[in-house]
């Protein structure tokens, strides 16, 4: 199947009119690529902002507090106030820090999140680029986080930050494996790495989702979800930050806008991982129609369906954080290497056997005719 690209689509739509107006073609090409990028970056920022609000409000409600309620109705635009405050703060770079790496690190962390957003299908034809290696792309770019965390930990020239950075390296690299293995279970079923195709081969109803394809994909979903929590440094796996142990971990020396970029990346990745889980395991924005051929209002409905699945997952991630203590670093690695990876492998093998035995069919899901 041909690779879909939003930039090409935009170029196709507007090229005739624009060329007629006398806009030179290189400008048009750059604009066609810039628009989806800007949209995605802003989407990540908006999602991160709303998630910080949700985190504050949910944690407050769980703990019998009230939470943010001063800025805007119900404190809804609190995150804007936070952003403005952080933006106006003095940007402190420690004397002994490695200035270049110190400045670079937050952008690498953020770029990892934004790059991952490129291949996530937001429903309908709203996807920046439907790469035929979409899942591999996500796994690869999410490894960029390690580089950013290590870089910030090293460049801060602070022992706590260094420990945080090294912890994050150990953690993210370990948990990459069960994440990838559990995603591979689904790849076995669909036979493609393209996320849009993965969504399209599912259906509107729950029994058509891959989570209920077979018992092993059900287990794989939970493996994916928990190891994704670890990859995002969320409780019970928030070791790189571990406020009570490492003060604030890798970002202890950061302030102002650079600090907030780390936070946008963290909450952005919550959104991206939830979106990925929704797309791969829960049918994404699929309502039983072809996303590229449907009229616009049906496409918007698909976006709605996608968000209806993603947002609850985000909220569950927040909810988990406020209900659980934190593991210890060696226990977390033990859990990964001794339990998650073997179970994920077993799921992978068992899914392969299931597909062989049942000729590619699931419990309810039927292999589409070639």
């Amino acid at each position: 199947m041909e690779q879909y690209s939003a930039a090409e689509k935009i170029y196709e739509l507007f090229s005739e009119k624009a060329l007629a107006l006398g806009i030179p073609e290189p400008v048009l090409v750059i604009a066609a690529y810039a628009i989806p990028c800007l949209v995605v970056i802003n989407l990540i920022q908006g999602a991160a902002g709303m998630l910080t609000y949700a985190e504050r409000k949910i944690s407050a409600d769980i703990q019998n507090r009230i939470g943010a309620n001063r800025v805007g109705p119900f404190g809804l635009i609190q995150f804007l106030a936070d952003g403005v405050k952080l933006f106006l703060k003095e940007d402190i770079i420690p004397d002994a820090a490695d200035r270049k790496l110190f400045k670079l690190a937050p952008y690498i962390v953020l770029s990892s999140t934004v790059l991952a957003a490129i291949v996530v299908p937001f429903g309908g034809s709203f996807i920046v680029a439907d790469l035929n290696i979409g899942l591999i792309f996500i796994i690869v770019v999410s490894s960029l986080l390690v580089v950013g965390f290590l870089m910030s930990g090293w460049a801060s020239n602070n022992k706590w930050a260094l420990l945080g950075g090294i912890r994050s390296a150990a953690q993210i690299i370990s948990y990459e494996i069960p994440t990838a293995l559990s995603l591979l279970c689904i790849v076995l079923i669909t036979g493609t790495f393209s996320l849009q195709e993965t969504v399209m081969s599912q259906g509107l109803w729950p029994w058509q989702w891959f989570i209920f394809h077979n018992p092993f994909s059900f287990v794989a979903f939970f493996i994916f979800f928990v190891s994704a929590l670890a990859e995002m440094n969320r409780t019970p796996f928030d070791f790189p930050e571990a406020e009570s142990e490492l003060v604030s971990g890798y970002n202890v020396e950061y302030s102002g806008m650079r600090f907030s970029i780390f936070f946008i990346a963290e909450y952005g990745s919550i959104f991206i991982i939830s979106g990925l889980a929704a797309a791969v395991f829960l049918g994404g924005g699929n309502i039983g129609l072809d996303p590229y051929e449907s009229p616009l209002h049906m496409q918007l409905l698909m976006v709605g369906v996608f968000f209806a699945k993603t947002v609850p997952l985000c909220l569950v991630i927040i909810w988990v954080r406020w209900s659980m203590p934190r593991l210890r670093i060696d226990q977390m690695l033990t859990m990964c290497w001794k339990y998650f990876i073997p179970i994920a492998f077993a799921c992978l093998v068992a899914t392969a056997i299931w597909l062989l035995v049942f000729n590619g069919n699931g419990i309810f899901w039927r292999m589409p005719a070639p």
Partner: protein, 188 residues
């Protein structure tokens, strides 16, 4: 029993229970906190807050006789008194200063005072931009009395709150609180 335990382990039962507990606390109306500056919190009578020098309603001046007991008993040594004489030759406090930043609010000065001339009000919201704001001289302390104990309230306070130890404390009497049981209380 053993089987039950294994099933519970696999299902992460105790973690689900914990998550159910946090979920059941989720409704916003469970909040127990207070929107403080909007909903001010009034302390109970007898709260040991900002100091006030009692103004004698008969003379319009402070009750203080400048005996210096409060300064003597003060564990943090935050009271300074300069004594002098008035027109009639009576001993008065020419200057009475309380350094509130040093004060530990034990209310020993109130207990020590033989004439009941100093009290602690239940006002606790005092903040300022300089150290001078927390240095209370005689005029400011008398102003506190007028502000926080207007009219009859001051007399009531002196009789009911700031009068211990009183004679009742040294003997048993019928008004003393004892436990009557829960049922009896509901009937009343």
């Amino acid at each position: 029993m053993e089987f039950k335990k294994i099933v519970k382990t696999i299902l992460f039962w105790e973690i689900l229970q914990g998550m159910w507990l946090t979920l059941s606390n989720l409704p916003p109306w469970n909040a127990v906190t207070r929107q403080y500056p909007k909903e001010p919190r009034y302390s109970d009578p007898g709260f040991r807050g900002l100091h006030a020098l009692v103004r004698n309603p008969d003379t319009g001046r402070e009750k203080c006789i400048a005996c210096g007991l409060c300064a003597a008993v003060c564990p943090s040594r935050c009271i300074t008194i300069h004594t002098g004489e008035d027109d009639k030759g009576e001993k008065i406090a020419e200057e009475y200063e309380v350094d509130v930043l040093r004060c530990v609010f034990c209310a020993f000065c109130v207990e020590a005072c033989p004439v009941g001339a100093i009290v602690l009000s239940e006002h606790y919201e005092y903040s300022g931009y300089s150290r001078g704001d927390f240095y209370f001289n005689k005029e400011r302390l008398l102003d506190n009395w007028d502000t926080f104990f207007p009219g009859e309230k001051g007399k009531w306070y002196m009789d009911n709150i700031w009068k211990h130890p009183n004679a009742d404390d040294y003997k048993a009497h019928d008004d003393q609180a004892v436990f009557h049981g829960i049922q009896k209380e509901e009937k009343q």
